[in-house]
């Protein structure tokens, strides 16, 4: 995430006022404006604008949950094992309107965070590492460095452009989104089963990908070297990571259990059921070429191609043509394998090439990479970065995610008028209108699938450490002369 890399969204269509009543557009969204024009009828909000964002931060953004998460059980001072400065050592960065990138901000508590963010109204909030000292005061210290950081992953659909025919670049649709679902399943499984992590948060990135935050204490304390080892463990692509052409090579005749499990349980079924038919891999001419190019026997590939060209449609009415051809190919390769051992793994390699998660590994390797916070709004799409339940990721619909405008419309429908100042909540950080909108569900998901367990675990860890320390102190002989 390069500083200053801000994408400007189309500015939202302003809410239209009756020109007779209101001729000062600047006053549109000003909540503090004198309530002279109460009777204005608002039309639906659309798109994205800083003004709408202001409403979002004031009424909807779940500051208390964010802070509960990032505090990892540390509360103010019940006893010395609690680190009351823990949250304040966390870097929060903001991207402001006009390409302004503000790094190394930090907050004492949810109120302070809410106040600052509402005042600066960022387009995007990024979460960085926990440092040895308050990053906002880093210049006052002689040493400044990251000490903790969630293990994070970033999967972006643009890395799949060579294997999808439905859309390119920033677009996604129901035909390519399964690729993300596959990535979630494979990575989530490895994180839990192989690496033993439990507190894993998956978040929709707001446009065309997903982010993953592994929050177990052990994960937060990984060194860069260990992070690199994990990314290598996950990686199956040959060559450099920015290599556009994603070649897979499965060396050796036996796959590591992690890979064979992923293949058996996720990749192959998803390839046959979803990717192959939906991407038209063996019907679309260019796709056929791309796929057959992965067969390490040119003559054979030519032969197959010719056969398909001449044979026309051979699938029965209710069988997918792609699938029929794949079975065809399977038969041929298995037959020819005896003759040409280079064909050994090629079918598996094809499945891997089309479906295995393509992670932006640079993001995962270093502690000091920033990653966009959950519940931000993507300026291009207006979609909120909502959490995804990995156990139910098949049912996640990126097209149905609440947007900035849809949420504010819900609020407006309920309140009648957004010029009404938000009600004073008991705690300043509490968003007031959240419960009236569909964002409530997303925040609940955040709590029930992630936050509640995490917080309980952190607290009991801290308590356990405290008890251990107390016991140790108690058992120590008192020294004295």
């Amino acid at each position: 995430m390069a500083p200053g890399a801000i994408e400007h969204g189309p500015s939202a269509k302003r809410t239209r006022h009756d020109p007779d009543i209101d001729s000062t557009p600047a006053a549109d969204m000003e909540v503090d404006e004198a309530p002279a024009k109460r009777d204005v009828v608002y039309e639906d909000f659309e798109g994205y604008s800083p003004q709408l964002m202001q409403q979002f931060y004031r009424r909807l953004f779940p500051f208390p949950e964010m802070v509960r998460w990032l505090s990892y059980g540390h509360k103010k001072n019940p006893h010395p094992m609690y680190d009351e400065n823990y949250l304040q050592r966390r870097e929060i960065s903001m991207t402001l309107d006009g390409d302004i990138f503000v790094r190394y901000q930090s907050f004492k508590n949810a109120d302070e965070m809410a106040k600052t963010i509402r005042a600066r109204n960022p387009l995007k909030i990024d979460i960085g590492a926990v440092f040895n000292v308050d990053p906002a005061k880093r210049n006052a210290y002689s040493s400044f460095g990251a000490v903790e950081r969630e293990l994070v992953f970033d999967v972006d659909m643009t890395d799949y452009d060579d294997v999808r025919t439905c859309c390119t670049g920033a677009d996604i649709c129901k035909d390519c989104w399964p690729l993300m679902t596959i990535a979630i399943k494979v990575v989530d499984h490895i994180l839990r089963e192989d690496l033993g992590y439990q507190h894993i948060l998956w978040v929709y990135s707001g446009r065309r990908g997903v982010h993953c935050w592994v929050c177990d204490e052990k994960a937060r304390k990984l060194t860069n070297e260990q992070r690199g080892a994990i990314t290598d463990y996950l990686k199956v692509y040959k060559g450099s990571e920015n290599n556009k052409e994603k070649k897979v090579s499965l060396q050796g005749s036996v796959l590591h259990p992690m890979l064979s499990r992923a293949y058996r349980e996720v990749l192959l079924p998803a390839f046959l059921d979803q990717v192959l038919p939906r991407q038209n891999l063996l019907v679309n001419e260019t796709q056929i070429d791309t796929l057959l190019a992965m067969i390490p026997d040119e003559e054979l590939a030519e032969e197959v191609k010719a056969k398909w060209r001449n044979g026309g449609r051979r699938a029965s009415a209710h069988e997918d043509e792609n699938l029929a051809r794949w079975k065809d190919l399977e038969k041929i390769v298995i037959r020819e394998k005896k003759r040409n051992i280079r064909l050994g793994h090629c079918l598996e390699e094809i499945v891997f090439a089309y479906t295995y998660p393509r992670l932006d590994l640079e993001v995962s390797k270093h502690m000091n990479h920033l990653l966009k916070a959950p519940f931000c709004v993507h300026p291009k799409t207006g979609k909120v970065c909502v959490p995804i339940d990995p156990a139910d990721c098949d049912n996640f619909d990126p097209m149905g995610v609440p947007t900035l405008a849809s949420l504010l419309n819900e609020v407006q429908r309920f309140r009648g008028d957004l010029r009404e100042p938000a009600e004073e909540a008991a705690e300043a950080a509490l968003p007031t209108d959240l419960d009236k909108t569909s964002l409530k569900e997303a925040v609940q998901l955040f709590r029930t699938t992630f936050l509640d367990d995490l917080e309980a675990d952190c607290k009991s860890d801290i308590e356990r450490a405290y008890r251990a320390k107390k016991d140790e102190l108690a058992s120590r002989p008192t020294t004295g002369w």
């Binding site: 089963e193 192989d194 690496l195 690199g228 080892a229 290598d232 036996v254 259990p257």
Partner: protein
Amino acid sequence: MNFSNVPNKRKSGAASPLHGDYTASGAQLTMYQVPPIEDVALEEFEQFALDRLRVLKGVEEARSRGRKPDELESVVNDLWRKHMRMGDAAETTRKDIISHYVLRLAYCRTEDLRKWLLSQESALFRYRFRMESPDAQRRFLTESGLPYNPVANAELEAHKDKLLQVARSVAGAGATAESVYYKVPFEDVPELVAGRKVLLSKGWAYVPRDQLAALVVGHFRTRLSKSLTLTRSQWNAKIEAQEKDRLTPVVEALSSRYLGPDYSTPSTKAGVRVADVDALAAASFPLCMQHLLHKVRDDHHLKHGGRQQLGLFLKGIGLTLEDALTFWRTEFAQKFGVDKFDKEYAYNVRHNYGKEGKRTDYTPYSCIKIISSTPGVGDHHGCPYRHFSQDNLSAALGRMRLNRKTIDDVMTKVKNHHYQLACAATFEGVHGAPCESGINHPNQYFDESRKRAASREGDDPTAQGTPPVAERQPAAERASPVTPVH
């Protein structure tokens, strides 16, 4: 020097052999947790360190050539026997520990040096560990406070299939699973995780006995890395100043020590004539020298650093003092006039040939020396792989008419800071033949190149005064005779 001002001092320790249990390397394997506490004579101090340095450089070279683990084991074994073995085990252990600590001092001072030492020492340790018997390895774990125990049979049974699958994925379908596994937090064996060489389950890695080295080396690395940082702050805080007249110069020289032949006597018996220089440069000079030569031809001037680097190199390839004077005068006079040259620069040329001043014969610079130099603005000396910008370097390589693949290869090596390997890759690209010995010295580059030219043409390539055109085909293609097919 007494090392005991380094913390972590314990009275018992590595210097006192435990139970005469000396092993494959003839010395007790140690993690160097306890510094030597005796006084060491200055000569021994330096000699031991140099011997160890020879071992480490040997290890580095063997690794950079991609030797297999088994081959490396025997390389390490030979190097150790040759340079480190003493009369008895206690002596060898003593030398091992002292030399290790001296090199910590010598290599703690910059990030690059620390990295180098960390990498070579870890490799050395790894192969020494691998040579130990299973029993000795287990004992070593206990003695080093690494609390790893073999996994119980019942648990092994539960993972049997997967363990076998991992073994086969690593070593091929015919492999069998090890009988002894250690269960460790996966964080302790990053390299095994990275290579998918272990089974992972719920955060644990099942490390087969034959991969135990990776586990132990991980700890060795971590500890050494921390110690080096510590040593550096102590070096900066006091040792450097305290020892300024005695140890400091020795220690500082150690890290830039070049251990190969010094090329102070010209390598070509026939000598090289001034007229041949350009032809030879095109065919056989390494890039650093080609660059200096171009610069002096273009600018008719070179600053001191460049004059030294090129001048001594030319001396090394056999340019006589007379010819050297002619060479430099021809260029410099165009800019400054003959008088100024004779007055201001000729002395320096004669000096390098030992004809002035202290009358010591100066030796040509090694790659290490050139690479670690710091050319300033207007300087042209240094090593292009190290000191050129990416663009300049790839343009320069293009001018050498290397193909794209070679250039990519060279640039990758440069990116990984392997400058000498980059130079060797260039050599291979230019000569279309492998560079077995690596590049350690510009004069060695030249000699290797001439050897190849001689074997190719069978006569003196400069005899006609035309530059020999380097072949750009791979050696294999060139050498393979047509095999008759029956």
